[in-house]
Subunit: 423 residues, 2 copies
């Protein structure tokens, strides 16, 4: 790990940007303003939308983005063949997003048998196994319990397939788009376990989804009694169908797959249930031939979202480098940014609030000199863990670990300003 450089890039914003903007003012034509006095004001033209009534109020009782934003959507990963439209992915367009909240319409998708259309009145959740009182809950039953709300990221363990070389035109949506963040509301799982009364021998919980895959995973009892939630709301409103409507498990900081969507069953047991999704899938084959199983936690990671692959720097001068950092073990303590491919590092500014197991937005002011550059970020979390380089990660895990890639991402800036994937 390189030492943090003491010097920061000194960036004087004024002059750089003002020069550009003033030129824009000089080019404007057709003077008009309500008050026809100011020098700048006189150059402002009257756009067509100011000359006619707009769309009626409540034209959209439930609103949608501007038609000018129609390219900001979830997509499959470029250059990866889609073999099934039921067991597949849809990636969040991180390059287009700001802040830390992911709009629910753009939350990433990863399903194993498509998205079920569940009637919440008919949905049931059973909790049984090593319990005193096996119970079946309706959604109304769940709504009776005390609630909590928390902002947490969700990341698929299959996010970021940089084990082998990626494609030069990959965007951050392609590399990191199985990552989203929401405000989740629901009931603590510990509250429900208290209600059914778990046995002292309880060590693992089987969580089963109500989709056609009957998606099942085993959850350690320690996590269930810690910060696990049964979630029915996301960013204020009820869960979206793609995120598990009407109720899902949410295990903050764990690989997304274990936060079982469309939750229909929790079975309390004394040992892991060794389901397909934790034996043949969602394990990591190590160089010694053994596999990492139940490697639940998403380790600290970060990525620069702008500038990033597929974008273009318009001109030399000031540019804000911004991105996201997160850790399944706690809070982000620091993010470092490098513009020279990791030779020197500079502390980025973290946007408050910095929350537990939540995306953290970082920013770094940069003066681009117009020449080639390699942009990188690395996250350090509250446990002191440092996001590894690709080489460090491969040395530890080998090349067969399909899941849990959290190496440092590089974006290459060419002399003309084009930004592209650089592993």
């Amino acid at each position: 790990m390189n030492r943090i450089a003491k010097t920061r890039h000194a960036v004087s914003r004024r002059g750089i940007i003002a020069g550009t903007v003033a030129a824009a003012a000089a080019l404007a034509a057709k003077p008009r303003l309500g008050e026809a006095e100011g020098a700048g004001g006189e150059a402002l033209t009257v756009p067509p939308w100011e000359t006619q009534p707009g769309a009626p109020v409540l034209a959209a009782p439930y609103g949608a983005p501007s038609p000018f934003e129609k390219t900001v959507v979830r997509r499959p990963r470029a250059h990866v063949e889609v073999k099934s439209d039921l067991s597949s992915i849809g990636l969040t367009p991180l390059q287009n997003l700001d802040g830390i909240i992911t709009p629910s319409g753009l939350h990433y998708e990863r399903h194993h048998a498509g998205v079920p259309a569940i009637d919440p009145e008919a949905h049931r959740l059973v909790v049984h196994g090593l319990v005193k009182r096996p119970l079946i809950f309706t959604m109304d039953d769940l709504a009776r319990f005390p609630t909590v709300s928390r902002l947490h990221f969700l990341e698929c363990s299959g996010n970021t397939q940089n084990w082998t070389a990626g494609k030069p035109d990959w965007t951050v949506q392609d590399t990191h788009g199985l990552l989203s963040c929401s405000e989740w509301t629901g009931v603590k799982l510990s509250t429900i376990l208290d209600e059914v009364g778990i046995d002292r021998s309880a060590k693992w919980i089987l969580a089963e989804g109500a989709d056609a895959a009957s998606m099942t995973r085993s959850v350690p009892i320690e996590k269930a009694l810690d910060d696990a939630l049964l979630v029915y709301a996301q960013n204020g409103e009820r869960l979206r169908p793609e995120q598990g409507y009407p109720v899902r498990l949410l295990l903050p900081g764990f690989e997304g797959n274990v936060s079982v969507k469309w939750l229909r069953r929790l079975k309390i047991g004394a040992a892991p249930f060794e389901t397909r999704e934790e034996t043949s899938k969602y394990t990591g084959l190590l160089p010694n031939g053994k596999a990492r199983q139940f490697a639940f936690i998403m380790e600290a990671k970060s990525v620069i979202t702008r500038p990033s692959g597929g974008l273009k720097l318009s001109q030399p001068g000031f540019h804000e480098i911004t991105g996201l950092a997160w850790s399944g073990r706690g809070k982000v303590a620091r993010v470092d940014v490098s513009v020279d491919g990791g030779k020197s590092w500079h502390a980025a500014r973290l946007q408050e609030p910095v929350l537990d197991k939540c995306l953290t937005r970082f920013r770094f002011p940069w003066r681009w000199d117009g020449g080639p550059a390699t942009l990188q970020s690395r996250a350090i979390d509250s446990t002191g863990y440092v996001q590894p380089t690709r080489d460090q990660l491969v040395a530890a895990r080998g090349m067969q670990s399909y899941y849990h890639y959290n190496g440092i991402q590089s974006w290459s800036v060419a002399a003309g300003g084009a930004v592209s994937y650089a592993a």
Copy 2:
């Protein structure tokens, strides 16, 4: 102000809820489970959505709520005649929401000439008047500046029309639905003012929208240099058209109307501009015949969102009382809840994070005895200001103050569980 009762309602959840839920389990029929052993498990039926593939992944590149949530939409205020569909309102369904984020599709609407359809490539923002360098900014220009993200509420000063008696069937959407909360991202207004170089005589700024109303308001320079933002993103994505796409002013804690949407012009001046919206409108007529002008700040306020008007308590026993509190002057310091019409008060639990000029979710555990009850909440902010009763508010402001109603809201619970508006 009543003294805070030292005793809290002792609420034992178990038993109350478990009794109900267990009964539900006994009623279930058609046993089946993957593993046919558990007592509770055997009672779980197989729903149709688990027997067939779901909707394909990426069926909706930009997602939408479940069809079962189609009644959760913005609405006009019940019993208030809609005289214009261009200058009107759409209210946020607070009774259906959880947490503090308002989904952007449900953010309240209040427009004066409908919603313009603005091409961001053609949009311009001019900053002129008492400045060294009048400038016209494109959206690309604005995107070059350093950014910040913050969570803030927005409330229309016309929210909560309880000056006179409301309607018995008014919901919290009717009474408080001109209130929403988002994560906003943009450029500090002070950064842009630094870029144009404001004159020492600058005291007020005229903000003008690019809608057909050319909505204009005057902003004090102190606010502009404090926490004012030029915002282009909301809850991660670009602003929705109804919230000012492609760029709006955001003045945290101020009445919503001054946070001019579709912002096209900022003119720096030495005095307020006395526009229509701050002379004939958006002032408050006091009992002495004078009017409050430029009463920008939304004072501390709170409301119980569940249980609230139009909802029904299903049965006696445990119920969580939950709602929202906010203050235009800072953070929410405390929220008190009363279940006996203000005779006794109990401190509610505040959901972290509690942020500056942001909605704060509060919760209070309540054991309903099945009899009549009157539910109230009152907010106390970080300045020590206490949300007034309706009587206190009317004593200070009289009955002609159309705007800025922040009195304590009562919900009446009848013996059968029906909840209704009670001023």
